[in-house]
Symmetry: C2
Subunit: 180 residues, 2 copies
DNA sequence: GGATATTATTTTAAGCCTGAAATATTTTTT
DNA sequence: AAAAAATATTTCAGGCTTAAAATAATATCC
């Protein structure tokens, strides 16, 4: 746990550029990030179930709606959560059944469904959100403030890099004539 | 996307300790990490489907088996991948059907099922793994080597912090007399 | 204005995933 | 050695998730 992975020790003798075609460091980085994400997700999932008898997808969806005063469409929520439309429909169905969310067609465009938290939903979410914030703080308690800032910054870089690579790929595909 | 989140700008005037009970920075950090993980997962999932007509869970499972020469038990795989036993059983069922994995009871202990890659499975995985490593490298291409090393290190810190917090919680639960 | 294309959402079929209960096997206790 | 406890895996019910097809409504084109 404390010993750094040998592959990441780089000195003047062993530069990345001297191992052409090798990208083991990036792979290790990804696997470590995935481990962290999975550990956090699993723990939050467990606590939501134990303390609030709910699930992470429901919590996440309610979190989006809580941020918006005027409500959000299915499409907006699906984009924000980076899940499929169909998934939003399914999760919303559960929340509707529990009276936590309201769904109604938009006045101007009847294709669009506008989702809002009900009063019960808002109250219920706020209680969970407060605990949730504490749980996350506990989980990151081993990092001091500068480390948190630095990690946040590097993940910002990462996010930009990902968007760029993903866009590049999509453009290439479009260029090759992938007809929609 | 480029502008840093205001909450993370900390100077001498605005220390975290001066906002007791506030843990918005940790929350933002977690959400950003989740965004990165999700972007990578989705992209890898898409490419595995497009280029190899397979799924991420299958790839991940095969990756574990590829690392082991002697085979792994269901329990070992489940621990490594941080998924439930039942899930391993289910994914393995698909791989068995496709002739990529072999499953047989251990000689000494017939409770245990030993999983190995078949020759086809190994060949098939190696081809995917090579492409996979390239994809990951592309996705992280916006980070230079020192950034990768630094991010890896900080995620190591994070991982340690998570294990500590999760263990603490489990110990507390056990102490309160959670009978198995 | 009517045909066509686009957009938003839902449905569908299939696979992933979980926790808990059930099953099978081995180990420990008495 | 029989009974009880522990361990490894599977089964089960239920929920999540996706991509692709279907549906419905709006916008665009001629």
């Amino acid at each position: 746990m404390e010993t750094p992975s040998p592959g990441l020790i780089l000195d003047r003798e062993t530069k990345a550029s001297e191992r052409p075609g090798d990208h083991k460091d990036e792979l290790r980085l990804w696997l470590r990030m995935l481990t962290c994400s999975t550990l956090i997700e699993t723990e939050i999932r467990n606590r939501l179930r134990e303390e609030f008898k709910t699930t992470l997808p429901r919590f996440d969806l309610m979190a989006q709606l809580d941020k918006s005063t005027t409500g959000m469409t299915v499409g907006e929520v699906s984009q924000r959560l980076m899940v499929s439309n169909g998934n939003v429909t399914a999760v919303v169905a559960g929340l509707l059944a529990d009276g936590l969310v309201d769904k109604r067609p938009a006045a101007q465009d009847r294709r669009v469904q506008v989702l809002t938290l009900t009063a019960l939903g808002r109250k219920s979410f706020r209680a969970m959100a407060e605990r949730h914030e504490g749980w996350i703080a506990e989980l990151f308690a081993g990092l001091d403030q500068p480390e948190i800032v630095q990690l946040f910054r590097l993940l910002g870089q990462t996010k930009a890099s990902l968007h760029q690579a993903i866009k590049r790929r999509a453009d290439e595909a479009a260029g090759r004539g992938e007809n929609a």
